[in-house]
């Protein structure tokens, strides 16, 4: 049953991901991105990583996509149907291929032949919190400083005009 759900979800989000890059309409592309991200949230749920799944929904679907759509609608995507295409497939294609070529073998080597037990402990919020704030506390802090820097930069850029 879980395998079947995985297949359906993976196929749907895969299809949405393809449509996301082939679509000429920017807003449609953003909406396909919503489908892809929701599909990933469901896959996290299947792996019993509940907290990560809902973070995915709250942050990506609820905030990042909304900001993206917001920006698109304010600036580029005129009301109604307009095709916006920068004709940069020749650059984007190789970049995506290289990224895939780097990440896929790494993931393959790491997870090949491994079985991960799906007891509820592994995706447990408490376990996750403990890991982040004990073992990974330095990377966590570095990432938050990075975000702070981005925030300060944004304020600086906005102040200029």
């Amino acid at each position: 049953m879980q395998g079947l759900i995985f297949l359906v979800v993976a196929a749907t989000s895969g299809f949405a991901a393809v449509r996301l890059v082939t679509n000429k309409n920017l807003v449609h592309a953003a909406l396909y991105l919503v489908v892809t991200l929701m599909g990933m949230a469901i896959i996290f749920l299947l792996l019993t990583a509940e907290f990560v799944a809902w973070v995915q929904v709250l942050i990506y679907v609820g905030a990042v996509i909304v900001l993206l759509l917001f920006g698109l609608m304010l600036t580029r995507a005129q009301i109604g149907k307009t095709a916006l295409d920068r004709q940069q497939r020749w650059v984007a294609g190789p970049v995506a291929l290289v990224l895939f070529g780097v990440t896929a073998p790494v993931l393959w080597r790491f997870f090949d032949g491994r079985t991960i037990s799906l007891d509820r402990q592994s995706g447990n919020t408490e376990a996750l919190g403990t890991e982040i704030f004990t073992k990974f506390v330095l990377p966590f802090e570095v990432v938050s400083v990075l975000l702070l820097a981005a925030l300060v930069g944004a304020v600086f850029l906005a102040k200029k005009d």
Partner: protein
Amino acid sequence: MIAEILGNGYVQLGMKLGVLMILLPATLALGWVELKIGAHMQARMGPMYPGGFHGWAQTLADGIKFVLKENIIPKNADKSVFSMVPYVTMLGAALIYVVIPAGENLVIENLEVGVFYVLAASSIGVIGVLMAGWASANKYSMMGALRAAAQLIAYELPLVLAAAAVAMMAGSLSLVDIVEGQKQIVLAGFYIPFLPFQIIGFVIFLIAATAEMTRPPFDMPVAEAELITGAFTEYTGIRFAFSLFAAEYITMIGLSAFGATMFLGGYAPLHTALEFIPGIVWLLAKTGTILFLLIWIRWTFPRLREDQLQKFAWKVLIPLSLVNIFITGALKLTPWI
């Protein structure tokens, strides 16, 4: 989690169908209650004729009217996106009910991250509003959608932070654990909920929830006078009823039940002597209290201006909710709690 839902059989399926079947009539009832309360606060009578007794069938008649009306899609609209909107807004609204407990074991799904889940589910609706505004090919719709998105992002943060403080009090994100945590302190037989410790959080929650539902005084996105109902200007008939009214009232009941669970003790009785009254009655009574507060707010305060609204969120509510989290941390460290 998925495996559990599938494995749990007919009881849970029945509960889910039951919740769905109760939701629409509850929407109609709440609509009527709001009309009546609003009218009496303004020294009017409100609807009096449909159905006989105090116009109880007014919203039912409205509903039938909406169903019978023509379903128009504007010529320049993006048809697929346009007609998807009611589903998206309803999905975000209806998902909240999954984790609200009506008893220690009477809950559709006791998620370990229940609080977080409610916040995530209620954030899906924004996408529906943005889709509606863009697909309508109408500048008023567009304006309304942009205002709505800016507002929902701004008020999501205080809502999350207010909920975080409650989760700190209970030491858990599960709504059942949060209610059980509110049964810990008993004073002369009365169960003391988190409300007295989280009074700041509760006020922030009420304000942010009102803003999340774009209800007055935070209704700039639908401001009738300037934007002719904002993102939903081009919507007619049943689509309009579902994407605007039904979604708003279902979210309103859902967030009120969430607030009742978080601050007022949910299904926990008021007094130990009243344990014999079932939990669902307590939950409904407390939800009703918050619903009344929300309606009261709506009919009492004048509408804000767009810049005032943003300033209020970022400069008042968010710092205040951070202070609230600090206070909660201090409370947790005091030994007598």
